[in-house]
């Protein structure tokens, strides 16, 4: 729970967190090393100096550290665990559903555990998805359409097998499809950041929600264009929101553009922990006001109500969370020593 200096209270659901192992011991090859190095560059490029971690801590941190950062030092009330398998780069995987499930098991009232699928896994993958649904009761999945897999150059949500997986999600009650549209490693002659397949899938599956992570950056323009036409498409703010510190002028422009095209009901906060820490992001976001010229040009405003929706209420709606009930669950789960102060 974040209480602003003004006294306003915010229930915060972080839509994008990971418990990963990028340590040298777990790296399978040079790509594993380069992958975590690249994450670390994002961390260095956009974090305030006080929040910079040494590289070994960033490579591999403990569940205790994660809990402390998100809920004790940070202001998250709940967090969605998004998996990133990358089994071609890491021996045990980088951040699988199974790895993340450790956090969920320790603090069930705090976490929403998401799964993943890859339509290139065919029938076996459909069975795995069923297993995830029955073992962990997942309500969402995280997809990487541009992930390298053997000979394959990635896939599109409009592919026939992807459609079968989405049908399965619908049957299993997995309503939230988080799709990573972002950096890829493939030398495709087409644009690997293309968001057009989201358009197609959102039309074919009106009962599913498609949350485009990183708001389609680096194709924000195309993303806004498809999102305006599809009411079940959402924008995840991970990677966009930390601009608030280093490039607040651009952040003002990005958030106002998103409010203009999608509106305050279809944007969700995500820290992308451990790349960024939820403490400074929340403090700065709640305090943030759009400059007059941007407000005038776009005709939108970032109000207290918009902030409440973006920081928690929208994700609560997507994941069926009753905020008042959840507050009580969290209060009851608090360890005795914390209650005693």
């Amino acid at each position: 729970m974040y209480k602003a200096p003004s006294g306003e209270e915010f229930f915060i659901i972080d839509g994008h967190t990971h418990l990963w192992d990028g340590s040298p011991e777990n790296q399978r090859n040079v790509h594993g090393a380069q992958f975590i190095n690249c994450f670390y560059d994002y961390h260095k490029a956009l974090s305030p100096a006080d929040y910079l971690w040494p590289k070994p801590k960033f490579d591999h941190y403990s569940p205790e550290t994660m809990y402390q950062d998100l809920f004790v030092d940070g202001y998250d009330d709940m967090a969605v665990l998004q998996p990133t398998y990358l089994t071609d780069f890491y021996k045990k995987g980088f951040n699988t559903t199974e790895q993340n499930s450790e956090m969920k098991a320790r603090h069930p009232e705090r976490f929403i555990l998401n799964g993943a699928f890859d339509p290139r896994d065919g029938e076996a993958g459909l069975e795995y998805l069923e297993a995830l649904a029955s073992n962990y009761k997942i309500k969402g999945v995280k997809l990487y359409t541009a992930e390298w897999r053997g000979e394959s150059k990635g896939y599109k949500l409009s592919d026939p097998w992807a459609q079968r997986y989405l049908e399965k999600c619908e049957k299993l009650g997995i309503k939230n499809i988080h799709v990573h549209k972002g950096p890829t490693i493939l030398p495709l002659n087409r644009d690997a950041f293309d968001v057009a397949d989201i358009d197609d899938a959102a039309t074919s599956f009106p009962n599913l929600n498609f949350i485009v992570e990183h708001v389609g950056l680096p194709r924000l323009d195309d993303f806004c264009w498809i999102a305006v036409q599809e009411p079940n498409v959402y924008g995840g703010l991970a990677v966009a929101i930390p601009f608030i510190h280093s490039r607040p002028g651009y952040f003002a422009r990005v958030i106002s553009e998103l409010l203009f095209w999608l509106g305050e009901d279809r944007l969700v906060y995500g820290s992308d922990y451990a790349i960024w820490h939820p403490r400074w992001i929340i403090e700065k976001f709640v305090a943030f006001e759009l400059p007059d010229d941007v407000r005038k040009e776009t005709g939108v405003n970032l109000t207290m109500q918009s902030k409440k929706k973006i920081l928690g209420e929208n994700l609560a709606r997507l994941y069926g969370i009753d905020i008042e009930k959840q507050k009580a669950l969290i209060a009851n789960a608090r360890p005795a020593k914390a209650v005693g102060g």
Partner: protein
């Protein structure tokens, strides 16, 4: 010609090569790590990018454009481009050195040429440049009516009191002349990317679309610069 003159000539050639996605030159972006001319007039250029994972298609375009531009210098015997610290460094370096098409360099992964992708990003660059000059003019009391009917000649002749306006105009006109279709000094200065004229009634919607394209490129540029700086930060501190 002394070595310094040659290095400068290479540098100005590289200043004309753009990152297709960001519409900025390799030198402005800091993508040129080193330039050297050896005793046999062979030019060695090392490029570096913000991440190990930067899309290889764009990396290939930049490396091969750099090679072509530098080869235009009459004294150059050979151009050797190398791309450092990239997932596909070896493949790109080899492909560019032999001068084959992208499809040949990446025969398993790519199924065609890059022309279509280039055209998409040329169109985005056109819209971004148009947005910049249009915003500049709107802020200086030019009305939408005036802009919609302005000819290229008129735009060229406008008395823009500062260097910034002049730069934005030059960049836009360069893109404007490149657009397909018959273009003369009497043509409309401001047209849609497909050559269609602008309508006054839909001007605000049109501007909103341009703003979206402009912002995306700006934010990408800021992110790429930040990542490049973070990636090579410690190196820059070395004496």
């Amino acid at each position: 010609m002394d070595r310094e003159t040659k290095l400068n000539a290479v540098r100005s050639k590289l200043a004309r090569v753009v990152d297709p996605e960001l519409d900025e030159s390799l030198t402005e972006l800091g993508f040129v790590e080193s330039i050297d001319v050896d005793a046999n007039d062979r030019v060695h250029v090392c490029l570096r990018l913000p991440t190990y994972w930067c899309a290889a298609n764009f990396a290939f375009m930049m490396a091969s454009d750099a090679r072509e531009r530098i080869a235009e210098l009459p004294w150059v015997k050979q151009v050797l481009i190398s791309l450092a610290d990239h997932f596909y460094s070896d493949r790109i370096n080899e492909g560019v050195a032999q001068g084959p098409s992208f499809a040949a360099a990446f025969r398993e992964e790519a199924s065609g040429e890059l022309d279509e992708l280039r055209a998409i990003f040329k169109a985005k660059a056109f819209e971004r440049r148009q947005h910049e000059i249009v915003r500049y003019l709107l802020a200086r009391e030019y009305t939408p009516e005036a802009l919609v009917s302005m000819t290229i000649r008129k735009l060229e002749e406008l008395d823009l009191a500062d260097a910034e306006g002049d730069r934005l105009r030059r960049r836009y006109l360069e893109a404007r002349w490149e657009r397909r279709g018959e273009t003369t000094p009497q043509s409309n200065a401001f047209v849609q990317v497909d050559g269609k004229p602008l309508a006054l009634s839909s001007f605000p919607d049109y501007l909103a679309r341009l703003r979206r394209t402009w912002l995306n490129t700006e934010v990408n540029g800021a992110l790429c610069r930040g990542l490049l700086e973070a990636r090579y930060r410690d190196e820059a501190k070395k004496p």
